[in-house]
Symmetry: C2
Subunit: 200 residues, 2 copies
DNA sequence: GTGCTATTTTGACGCCGTCAAGATTAGTTC
DNA sequence: GAACTAATCTTGACGGCGTCAAAATAGCAC
């Protein structure tokens, strides 16, 4: 917390993002109010509006950060075409951990709050689509070796990602899937994906 | 809209549920305010509190309705053990249509609003778990014929339902999956599930 | 210094969920 | 019928929210 005596904060935008991330993680979107946020940053209620046009814009920025992190995770995926299974299994585990570490952020990234109820920034839209494109490349049939022969890359990506995403949601929203079952179900999911490829 | 002259409404609870369902569908949880709702029912702002202890309770009731409908859908699933694929394919289509017909309701049923941020009613919890138990029974390995040999019923249900759920979320939240791709991806998902069983 | 612009503040508006106190009606018991 | 009780509904109020407008303050170029 920097000195509160100054009229100009000097680093408000970054401070807001940092504190907003904390509020989001600990209290969810509902608990993340611009007024609380301003107070935590030691600044008046309307000061944030000079750095984010409105709450929607702030949320977009937070979601954007999330996608950038997810990018790194996807880039880190390494599949051995001769035996892609261990690499895939690792990635699924990483992905689930990523989502479980900050569920509210994950919800923000993919949920209706921004994509339906809100107005996703052009920047956010771009980053999100980029992220998916990256994923499509990462699980390209060629990289899956003999398994991927002749499969449609886009379909493979969509179906596998849907499985992954579904697992996360079930887990995070705490319905139909307990934390203890995670490992087993995640393994089952990998088996599912690979088997699906074998059949195509 | 019944006569507004009477002091007692007479059918307020049902009216509230009906109007709330409309507000939910058209404006989402965000747009469903108790005050707007009361106004639409032709009643004062606090009248609803005599029928629902708070907004959370009202939302729980709405979600509950959704699960009852989903129950009927699951009960309607018919799988031929000799060839379960067409039945499964039909169910997946039905499920996606169910979710797509009222996305905000689906979000309410499975999302964080109630299960994490809110306090799910005991009644809701019961209905939701009942619904899943029904699903577990519906896709029991025996019903899948030779495919299901030796598979763990719970895992099969969790993994297949996660896939289904993931598809819905991707579709409804409008990210990474377009309406036109629905059919193709849904078919791919069925292939995935069946193939997964063949491998177990 | 003067002026320009970015930043921050206070004040206000309308919306929200919800509580408290009182008014009105329905239902039960005599 | 009357009296009482419980259910239902109303008005009024409180604090919190997002956001706009106008005024104050500070940094910066000249």
């Amino acid at each position: 917390m920097p000195r509160p005596a100054r009229y100009h904060h000097g680093d408000l935008r970054d401070t807001l993002l940092r504190e907003a991330a904390i509020l989001l993680r600990e209290h969810g979107v509902q608990g993340l109010s611009l007024r609380r946020l301003a107070e935590r940053a030691g600044v008046s209620r309307t000061a944030p509006y000079h750095h984010f046009t409105d709450k929607n814009a702030l949320l977009c920025a937070l979601a954007e950060q999330g996608f950038l992190r997810l990018d790194r995770l996807i880039d880190g995926m390494s599949l051995d075409p001769a035996d892609p299974e261990p690499g895939l299994r690792q990635f699924v585990r990483d992905y689930l951990r990523f989502a479980a570490e900050d569920p509210e952020r994950y919800e923000l990234m993919f949920g209706r709050t921004l994509w339906k109820a809100g107005r996703p920034d052009p920047a956010l839209t771009r980053v999100a689509h980029d992220c998916f494109r990256r994923y499509v490349e990462a699980v390209r049939p060629e990289r899956l070796g003999s398994l991927g022969q002749g499969a449609d890359p886009l379909r493979v990506a969509q179906a596998s990602w849907a499985t992954l995403h579904g697992l996360c949601r079930l887990l995070l929203d705490g319905i139909y899937l307990r934390r203890e079952d995670m490992e087993a179900v995640s393994d089952q999911a990998v088996t599912l994906m690979l088997a699906g490829l074998r059949r195509d």
